[in-house]
Amino acid sequence: MSAAPALAVEGLHRSFGGIHALDGVSLAVADGERRAIIGPNGAGKTTLFNVLTGEIPPSSGTVRLEGTDVTGLATSDLARRGLARMYQRNELFEPLTARENVALALAAAKGPYRLSRARTSAESAEADVYLERVGLAGRETARARGLSHGERRQLELAIALAQSPRVLLLDEPTAGMSPAETASISRLIGELDRSLTILIVEHDMDVVFRLADRITVLHEGRPIAEGTPAEVRGDRLVNDVYLGKALEA
Amino acid sequence: MSLELVVQQALNGISFGALLFILAAGLSLIFGMMDVVNLAHGAFYMLGAYVALQVVQITGQFWIAIVVAPVVLAAVGFVIEPLLLRRLRGRHLDQVLLTIGVGFVIVDLIGLYWGREVRTLPFPPGFDRSIDIGGSAYPTYRLFVIAFAVLLAGTLYWIHRRTAMGALIRAGVDDAQMLSALGVDTDRLFAITFAVGAGLAGLAGVVAAPAFGIQPGMDVDALIFSLIVVVVGGLGTLNGAAAGAALVGPAETFGKVLFPQFALALIFAIMAVILLGRPSGLFGRIRIGR
């Protein structure tokens, strides 16, 4: 018997006042897999992520995390079960330093009800490891609001990694980045430990084909194709609705 | 409770509700357009009453006061918005805090200028008597308040539904940012909105003065009641102010008769229940979390 998929979604529906943002999404992502979700704007990618992280309840359908039904659980409970998300629009603690942003993620596991001292040197050292991994060494004491756009994306990733997740959702990790920054962050993602399962929504097809083991194509809230990058590239329907245009652009 | 008493209390409740509508309409308008809960609303109301007192002392005419006081208050609002609130555009919570300070200043200057004693405003001529309704004497001024509020509501609805200004307001309540994208001068619109809101508070102050008197602390009572009304009815809409006033006025009046000990707490309990269950109020359509 094979192990349960890291993340399994079955018949997920979500509508907003008559509009079906998700119209029956099912997918199973194996442990350690890199799965890309692609599709045109409005295909339901961000809604899917919002449902997966519990920020929006699904209208119907189930979500399983490592075999356990987690449908309808609160965002914080899902996070505690090993689900982390790198937001598309940065969600940082603006007046805090880069180091403290990461430290808050690190401290989450032990809970907030501790009157012991925060900002210890041990904690800083631990946080700095993550900052260095994403290429923010030397920026530890810069405030989040003072970082450049690229640096903010890096910090966003460092926070997600500091949660020590089992499943990581990356919502357009390279959005708004320069080619050099894009190259470095996609290299970084590629080098992440294979025990980590990754779902990635991304518009940059180079990044998608480089990183993904498998690709799911969403269109109008429905998966219309799924397969290896080579299979998806060869799919005529996918080319019609999305890829052709995306690759030309 | 005898039928007589019920009729009398019902009339009291309706006339109190009528006053609350005048009071809450301005608060609601400002919130609807600007997303600001104007905590100086009670101070505006109080200032309206004192300006009316002054006008009556000079001219001896209530009917002049009922015109002058709202105009003076509108002028005050028209100055305060660009002078203070505009500097914090977009920072709604800070704007709310700002209005607290504005209220402090207005109330204290009133005390300085007019003194801190209880004052009275005589009933206007023609409405200083009582008539017989269902076997008991009933002051005609309260009937005037009801009629006046109905007339005002009708006028406001007409402006709201039929005029260009009303169209702007309806659009602004839905989405004020959209208006500025469409090229509407929002600075001017907000100044006018705040002026009209303050003017309505001043009008409520004049109308209330003969029945409720003029005294320190009236600002707090007015503020709290108008907050209750708009929260119950729904912040930011005319319907909400009307519905809230129609509910809270009689509820307060009958509550006082039926549960004298806990009438006030009862009203706040109603408000809390509505805020919790339906945070946008009975008729509200605003976004939560701002």
Binding site: E55, A74, T75, S76, A79, R85, E91, L92, F93, L96, E100, L104, A107, K110, P112, Y113, R114, L115, S116, R117, A118, R119, I159, Q163 | D35, V37, L84, L88, H92, D94, V96, L97, L98, I100, G101, V102, F104, V105, D108, L109, G111, L112, L223, I224, L227, I228, V231, P260, Q261, F262, A263, L264, A265, I267, F268, A272, L275, L276, G289, R290
Partner: protein, 314 residues
Amino acid sequence: MAPLASIGFYLALLTFPDWSGAIEGSRYMTTILRDMTVFAIYALSLDLLVGRAGMPSLGHAAFYGSGAYAAAIASQRLATSELTVTLAAAIAVSAALALVIGLLCVRATGIFFLMLTLAFAQMVFAVAFQWTDVTGGSNGFAGIARPTFGGLETSAPEALYRLVVIVFGLVSLLIWWISRSHYGRALVGVRENERRMRALGYHTRRLKLSAFVLAGALAGVAGALSAWSFRFVSPNDAGIGRSVEAFVMVLIGGAGTLLGPIVGAGVVLYIDRVLSSAIPFSQAVLGVVFVAFVLAARQGIVGSLRAALVRVRR
């Protein structure tokens, strides 16, 4: 600020009645300082919400007032003036009330939180005002016995002063401790980005509720101290005016700092007590000062000074 200076300042405050005898009007000044200290505790408790956790409560007087009433009623009904009993009653009542009100309020944010807390505080005010049998109604509750601690009396002004300042020291220490702790930083995280905190696995509502209860309990302590200081409690102690006062103190002094609320309490009380006997429009002055800070120096006195200091050092 250097810890040594803080300790020195605190000791000077604690011993004020002992060394100020030669100064003219020192007894009056002791009273003023005592009341400033009570208000400083009250402001510090609100700042836990406003400054740290970003919860703009406009109903904090509910807990100040309930603490004051609880201390007064406990000492009357239980016929004891023992500090441990009456203070415990104040803390228990205000914390329990904060738990109930907090449970209902922490879902809301921003202006809605502000209005919900205001609504509930007005309910408490209404109960204090109308439940005459227990609270004395609009007349208030007078002649409250000052507490005893073991065998120590606090009926003498100096003794009560010392009690107030010692409690103030303990509360300040607690807030300082919290501000350095994981708990304090988590509150700041909620203030800055509650959504992100949830995504990190924090149960933010529970966290906010805990801060609300703690702040309520500390406000209850301040209320009890005020009941003993003035030997009088009235519904106004739970009213909107008292709630606004705390907010003004926090904002003028500087939200989210330890020193800010203390300084703010000093400024507000100075205007309320000292300035008001000199000029007849002290509340208008307070209003103008408040407006000026909201408009131009939202970080308050302490926050602005700190920012200026950083600029100078560069």
